[in-house]
């Protein structure tokens, strides 16, 4: 090992002169980069453009690249045609309560896995990781039966309550790994001062975990905002819908009085896409950290 390291060092030293110089090849790389960027961004551009067209222009042939006059009132019209405000409210309720539950309970569980020694801990941790591989279909049916026997089908409860019981394996795993990097001396000093175990968690570890907690918040927010299968299974009256479910229903609304829906559908889609995208821009660092961590240590 030492031998090869030495060889590497020598070679690296010699290589300094030939380091990374930008050549024509690198410049040419911009061609595929720009082509891919266009491929990935064009659909967004097209939906924003469509969302601002008047009803007659959206169905005209050939289609126009940009609306002749942007019609912002389309966005207002969405709220008139569908209970869109209600769907937003439902989604916010679910996202906030699910995220809060995930953050509180997964950090507590992660603390237990990271800092305590007891019988069955490692086995339970393995089982926890195992649940990540499980397809939702196999637990979905019994869970549905459970919620329906409790009488909570068509309420928002099944969408966020499970998050209060551990917050899912991935969040537990992420926070446990993070707590393990915090020196134990911090805990021990507090124990000598007579602090309770819960106090150590709340006053010492949680503040140090803020970056990892941010990651959990963002991933949980986006996952719950985007979720389609769970609301699809549990919610059946329009006023209970979340945005994702409402949006897909909106597609099937009848077009009345010669008003096509396409421009409104696009306006509604843009509004649904915007919050996760904005959140990503605000907290990009934490988000990428979480994804990368799952890949490297998974």
């Amino acid at each position: 090992m030492a031998m090869s390291e030495k060889v590497f060092a020598e070679r690296a030293a010699r290589a300094v002169g030939v380091g990374r110089r930008r050549g024509v090849g690198d410049l040419l790389l911009y061609v595929p980069l720009i082509i891919f960027a266009i491929i990935f961004v064009f659909p967004f551009f097209w939906s924003v453009s469509s969302s601002l067209k008047p009803p007659d222009e959206i169905l005209s042939f050939p289609p126009t690249l940009l609306p002749s006059v942007p019609r912002w009132s389309n966005y207002v019209r969405v709220f008139e045609r569908a209970p869109f405000a209600r769907w937003i409210l439902n989604t916010i309720i679910v996202v906030v309560l699910a995220t809060l539950g995930a953050v509180l309970s997964s950090s507590l569980v992660a603390y237990s896995f990271a800092r305590f020694r007891y019988r069955g801990r490692d086995l339970l941790f393995m089982i926890t990781l195992g649940t990540m591989m499980l397809p939702a279909q196999v637990t979905l049916i019994p869970q549905y039966i459970l919620w329906s026997k409790l009488g909570f089908v068509n309420t928002l409860l099944p969408l966020f309550v499970p998050q209060w019981f551990g917050g899912g394996a991935f969040n537990i795993f992420l926070l446990r790994q993070f707590i393990l990097t915090i020196p134990r001396e911090f805990d021990e000093a507090a124990i000598i001062d007579g602090a309770s175990r819960f106090h150590i968690f709340r006053a010492i570890l949680l503040p140090l975990c803020v970056p990892a907690l941010m990651t959990v918040v963002i991933i949980s927010f986006i996952a719950n905002w985007d979720d389609y299968l769970t609301p699809l299974v549990y919610l059946n009256s329009e006023m209970q819908y979340t945005l994702a479910l409402g949006l897909s229903l909106f597609k099937n609304y009848p077009e009345t009085g010669g008003e096509p829906l396409q421009h409104l559908l696009m306006a509604a889609s843009v509004m649904t896409i915007l919050p996760p995208v904005l959140l990503f821009f605000i907290a990009q660092r934490y988000f990428v950290q979480g994804i990368v961590m799952s890949g490297i240590k998974g």
């Binding site: 590497f8 659909p43 042939f61 279909q137 196999v138 019994p142 019981f165 389609y228 699809l232 597609k251």
Partner: protein
């Protein structure tokens, strides 16, 4: 050995009962262990109520006929027999799912790797390109499906308009029996290629020691040889991780196909994937027993694929840090 599974040395005094129950030595440690259980409690409940309980229940249900309202009726292996021999949509939906996966997994993986390789050159503007590629992943699946239904509109969608402009009559895309599956493949590739897989590849690429490339360059290795003999082996663990997740993700394909077809499986069942088949049996026909049997078949398929990949990985995955 230091863990102290042995009783205390004196022979006379053994460990306190509570301590030995929770697997530690002293009463002090036992009190600590109890706190550990207390903090674990939410997850123990969650695990039992939302995972372990449902897994057992769904296994038992798979041997019954059950519609939620009347009590379950034991039917033995009838559900499994129906699946394999008496269900006209079972095999087609399974093949459709494999057809989908066999395209999406390799194209998605190599596409993500290609994007990551381009970003890894560290050219000015990399941050912009990374964000541009990643945006599609942040799009909720429903919005993704609606966006693309509009773009693939056979009459006035921009793709067919552009094709017509250069003299090619565009296909009916999602409305066409033969084009529906390729359309969904296209949509989902767009929605995932620049996403998590790419970021994980990028992190893997950045973990390859620069010295290896320099050493290879000095030894006269061409760009391709460096990629083949340095990059690929060094990122093979990352590749493996993405492959396993990619296969599982592809086999579970559901939302896009559900939304673009309104849940009816598209023209002539062209988009009737296995996950949709399970969903329909359970929540449209309320055949909970049969759907549970299908879900268990699904679990076995996923486990088998994962197992084979782990076995095969020993031949091609290289761990720089030795065995892990």
């Amino acid at each position: 050995m230091t863990d102290g599974v042995l009783p205390a040395r004196t022979g006379r005094s053994t460990r306190p009962l509570l301590a030995s129950l929770v697997g530690v030595n002293t009463m002090m440690q036992a009190r600590d262990a109890l706190w550990g259980y207390v903090f674990l409690l939410p997850w123990i409940i969650g695990l039992v109520v939302f995972f372990l309980g449902p897994i057992i229940l769904s296994f038992l249900l798979s041997f019954t006929k059950y519609d939620v309202i009347t009590p379950p009726q034991f039917v033995g292996l009838a559900n499994y027999e129906t699946a394999f021999t008496g269900d006209d949509l079972f095999w087609p939906s399974l093949w459709r799912t494999f057809e989908y996966s066999i395209v999406v997994v390799p194209v998605g993986l190599f596409g993500s790797l290609l994007l990551a390789l381009m970003l890894n050159r560290g050219l000015p503007g990399t941050g912009f390109f990374r964000t541009a590629f990643f945006l599609s992943t942040l799009t909720p699946a429903v919005a993704l499906a609606l966006l693309w239904s509009w773009i693939l509109n056979p009459d006035i969608g921009p793709i067919n308009v552009a094709l017509r402009a250069i003299g090619i009559p565009g296909p009916g895309w999602l409305a066409d029996v033969h084009w529906a599956l390729p359309s969904v493949i296209l949509i989902n590739l767009w929605g995932s290629m620049g996403g998590n897989t790419m970021l994980i590849f990028l992190a893997g690429l950045q973990g390859v020691p620069q010295e290896l490339y320099e050493a290879a360059a000095i030894d006269g290795a061409s760009g391709w040889a460096r990629f083949r003999h340095v990059t690929l082996p060094m990122i093979s663990p990352t590749f493996f991780f993405n492959l396993v997740l990619g296969v599982i993700g592809a086999l579970k394909v559901f939302t896009t196909a559900f939304v673009v077809t309104g849940g009816n499986g598209g023209p002539n069942y062209a988009l009737w994937f296995f996950a949709l088949h399970i969903y329909q049996q359970a929540f449209s026909f309320f055949k909970m027993g049969y759907a549970s049997a299908l879900a268990w078949i699904f679990v076995v398929i996923l486990l088998a694929f994962t197992y084979f990949q782990v076995v095969l990985s020993r031949r091609w995955v290289y761990y720089a840090g030795g065995d892990e």
